[in-house]
Amino acid sequence: MSPPPETVVSTEDLHKTFRPEVFGPPVTALRGVSFAVRRGECFGYLGQNGAGKTTTLKILTGLMTPTRGSATLLGCPCGDEAARQGLGYLPENPYFYEHLTPREALDFYGRLSGVAPSDVAARTPRLLARVQLEDVADRRIRGFSKGMRQRLGIAAALVSEPPLLLLDEPLSGLDPHGRHLVKEIVLEERAAGRTVFMCSHVLADVEELCDRVVVLHGGVVVREGRIHELLDGEPTSFELSADRVPPYLRARIAAAASLLRESGEKLTAVLPGAALGPELAAAVHAGGGRVLSLVPERETLESWFVRVTGPETARVREAS
């Protein structure tokens, strides 16, 4: 038996144009998207609404065919049965047969994926407990909340124990407990060696879960890399706390700060840029004041994302 491929998901110059309405104008959702996901990594696929994330997922799952370019899953062309065999897919806002119960739904998806009925029967209680639906295992899905459906969707994606999980907005519609639970599941699955490919708008969660991200904007990949590499760099600002600051320095700090809090002798200021914070801290120290703390603030994934998908990026791309 050949070893599992190191590249689990790969797309090459993927293009997709379609007509949302029969006589409407064509829409180009993807314009030459190329990326690769390695085995065992948790990969974040980011983009604004309409950036082409769901279209990419539909191509990967075989629900759509690309207009141009190619994509492979687990070394097989997308849409092939062999590619789908190793895939657990959670669509955005998953829908189920309303009259089935979670137990029946897992039996349905498990057997559809070729899992032996005895194995499905053994896995079902475990999975339902894992997504905290064991108490409603025999209740019809019809009355379920969005969060319950989402958790059932995760269980359905896991029932065949696939090596690759494609999760479209896995944390959408979940309450804090549900989000914590799903994040734990994602981390456990990754620790078990599975590859996780997730699209999400909740960038704090992506930052917490993913090793690497691709940012899609207007159907084009605008950034790709490891999160710490993308975010590492000079601090965007410093938070300086000090007391006994000489009046002339206090005025200088107040003029430069983007945020200032004063409480008696003590002041706290957010100083933009990478140089100003250390410079003013040194001046406070030299002037006889006491520096209580100087904390660098780095860009979050969210602010980075807003920057790279903002109108300026679009203008630069248009121009090029």
């Binding site: 629900l63 895939l87 897919y89 669509p91 998953p94 829908y95 309303e98 349905f108 559809l112 969707g153």
Partner: protein, 255 residues
């Protein structure tokens, strides 16, 4: 492959039998069977003949209602509700999905028609009637009609939304039962354009009268089993044609 078709068929069956629409269609058919006695009182004809005629027609209408309300929307609804995403992204071919849907729909329709037929037979016996092979032939004919009606409903459902697919199934039912009569009606005008049109329609639309044996039941004619066999075979062939067409359309569909 067989397993996956059976899995989809089982889910389709469970979904359909738990849906309120099925109950409504079934209640309508039972209502027609019960109402047949009232017609028997009002009619100048033989009461038992009216009960047989009207209640068997009720079974035919039940088969049509199930195809329209359950069958026509079954694929289109899956696309609308996006349940199809979670199914087709698995190790399941689109043709297997359609075949499974078809199997589930036929199983539901057959179960309903058979239960209603048993009820109808009991009703006939209550009013002093008897059961013969003509009755069996009529019910078998309706079961054959179920095959092609659901195949057409699925074909249209793979093409259009549930409402259009339902109306299309109704049109097919009406045309399928009328095409032979219309052709015969205008045959006298040999050489006319109308006759040619109806001749073409007769050739291209499956003739549902080939499996309609309700008249044999009420008129006491002997059952031409050979005719029923040929009719049943033609329904199977037509069903395969419509299912093949649906599979072709569905294979190319982008979700």
């Amino acid at each position: 492959m067989r397993d996956r078709v059976a899995v989809v068929a089982r889910a389709t069956f469970l979904e359909a039998v738990r849906d309120r629409v099925l109950l409504v269609a079934f209640a309508f058919a039972i209502g027609m069977v019960l109402f047949s006695r009232v017609l028997g009182w009002l009619s100048l004809e033989d009461t038992l003949k009216m009960i047989q005629d009207f209640s068997l027609s009720g079974l035919q209408v039940l088969a049509l209602l199930l195809a329209m309300l359950v069958g026509a929307g079954s694929v289109a609804r899956e696309v609308e509700r996006r349940t199809v995403y979670t199914v087709l992204s698995r190790d399941c071919r689109r043709s297997e999905f359609l075949l499974g849907k078809y199997g589930g729909l036929v199983a539901v329709s057959w179960a309903c028609v058979l239960v209603a037929a048993v009820f109808q037979c009991g009703w006939l016996l209550v009013w002093g009637g008897s059961l013969g092979e003509a009755m069996a032939a009529a019910v078998l004919g309706i079961l054959c009609e179920v095959l092609v009606l659901n195949a057409v409903a699925l074909f249209l459902g793979a093409l259009a939304n549930p409402a259009i697919a339902s109306v299309g199934t109704l049109c097919f039912y009406a045309a399928g039962h009328a095409t032979e009569a219309l052709r015969d009606l205008v045959r006298a005008q040999a050489g006319s354009g109308t006759a040619a049109v109806f001749e073409v329609l007769y050739r291209v639309i499956p003739n549902l009268e080939n499996v309609n044996f309700i008249n044999h039941t009420t008129s006491g004619k002997a059952v031409p089993w050979g005719t029923l066999g040929i009719g049943a075979a033609s329904m199977v062939v037509w069903s395969a044609v419509f299912l093949g067409g649906a599979a072709l359309l569905f294979r190319r569909r982008q979700f």
